[in-house]
Amino acid sequence: MGKESEKHLLSPGVYYLQGSQACTEGAITAGCRVYAGYPITPASEVMEHAALRLPQVGGRFIQMEDEISSASVLLGASWAGAKAMTATSSPGFSLMQEVISFAIMTETPLVIVDVQRPGPGQGYITTSQEDVMQARWGHHGEGSIIALSPASVQEMYDFTIEAFNLAETWRSPVLVMAEETVAHMREPLTIPPQNQIEILTRKKPQDLGIPPHSFLPYGHDIVPPMANWGEGYNVNHVSLVHHEDGNVTKYDRKTHFDSVLRIKQKIEGNVDHISRIETRFMKDCRHVVICYGSVSRTAVEAVMEARRECGIDVGFLRLVTLWPFPETKLREVVDNVDTVFVPEINLGMMKHPITEALRDRCKRIVSIPTLGCLHSPEMILSKIYEVAK
């Protein structure tokens, strides 16, 4: 990054921004210099801010004709060595699944922000968590994904930086599964000094002392080093089943199995490094509320109120990372409880992996669904009172 573009980074301090703007600022801080997108409510503010800011930092902004092409731009940009991002909302996220699958197979680092809105179809334009399963399972074929779930304006900034770091580290598409609630709210955003922010970039063959003639685009490590176009290395991005050297001929079953298993395992096998949870009041609790995203804000308020007003022994657990699903971490902290409450802005989606993880650790799992709006504390409290009193 040249001095000229550094000059246009937000200086350290407190700002009052929308989550969408914080997200774009996080991307820029992380080194994103290509943004391609197609506007859609309620994600357009991310793009609007990118249109303003990317040129200021020496980056490129391009509005494409649709979401498929927007996401496709990220592939090319990433192969050329840039960090690239797009943002969309649920109907657009459906269209991007093809590229996500392509990026998984070609092991292309890129970041997609989904400011979720209700579906199916055009649904509505308010808040939602209805894409959390699509995030994991929407792309065709095997492979895994990394998806983060921010709950505040600060996290829209922090998690977007983290998303780029994860994308670069694991050579994977990374999803920021935001919601209209966090994208549109304004809160203080603290920008720390640049030297206190960890920025990671992809490992290149040059860094490992691998000369061009012995470079294998899909070899050397569980996360292969990635060569940029134009640096003298054989760059071979193929989404067909391929050998370590990128060759797609001479198909054999073992190569197929091993290569796709590696792509899946580099994520799933490192779940403990990648995925995080947050907990409060978990020691010896009888019940627990498990949530993610903006619902965590309501849930922690409800949990504190239930404890304070009615002495109900209820704990709080938040999935910071949705995928890869942090099953082991859940099992470490939820041992033997009566009830697991799962409030979500959908009809009960993450309830399924939670059930799979904790079915032998609790007596019952109670979904608290809503659509199109954030739960009020009362919605969660009334369910807790109904079951726990």
């Binding site: 009052y16 334009i125 308010t126 609630t181 709210m185 304004r186 804000r297 504190m304 954030l374």
Partner: protein
């Protein structure tokens, strides 16, 4: 405010009256210039372009979890529809600031501390009806002045509105303050004015 107590302000009117801008300015004043925590949210959807539109600011010295108003300490209503929609969520003895030309009938007004300000009229005299929101903000400031400094709000106005409209916005803000000072003379500190619906 003090401690982790939430102080909840809701500003409501028709889409286009500038209530969202008022929320943004208030949030900026509280968080950037007063160092408090605040969350500003707004109604989103068709209602933000014509129907009953609202902007909310929740303020606290501590962490703010639930980002929306639960029971408002203050309601600023600039239209009749907004008043009718949001009055049920105003606390007993809460501050109710209304545009006096739009809202003439206030049922159970002894439940609240009511302040009637002809915000649109004052704005028209000041530079145009589009400054109605900033007149209302001036009036609001005077009623909640124990919670923030006037200079913080003036700085936040500068930060959030176009420089070419600064002078007239500052004038509108001053007139809002002056109107409340002139017409609710008895107002001293919060404690003295408590429960007073004039």
């Amino acid at each position: 405010m003090g401690g982790d107590r939430r102080y909840e302000i809701r500003i409501a009117g028709f889409g286009g009256q500038g209530v969202i801008t008022v929320g943004k300015i208030l949030g900026t004043a509280f968080s950037v210039f007063e160092g408090k925590n605040s969350v500003n949210t707004q109604s989103y959807g068709p209602e933000s372009r014509g129907g009953a539109c609202k902007s909310e600011v929740v303020v606290s010295d501590g962490q703010i979890n639930y980002p929306y108003v639960r029971k408002a300490d203050v309601l600023v209503a600039l239209s009749c529809l907004a008043f009718e929609t949001y009055i049920p969520d105003l606390k007993k003895d809460g501050i109710l600031l209304v545009d006096s030309r739009s809202i003439t009938d206030i049922p159970e007004q002894d439940q609240y501390r009511v302040y009637r300000v002809p915000t649109a009229e004052i704005a028209s005299e000041t530079g145009g009806v589009k400054y109605q929101n900033i007149v209302a903000l001036g009036a609001l400031y005077y009623l909640i002045r124990d919670h923030l400094e006037e200079s913080s709000l003036r700085e936040a106005i500068k930060e959030n509105l176009p420089p070419e409209t600064r002078d007239v916005n500052m004038a509108a803000f001053t007139k809002g303050i002056q109107y409340v000072k002139d017409h609710y003379q008895a107002l001293g500190t919060r404690e003295k004015s408590h429960g007073q619906g004039i």
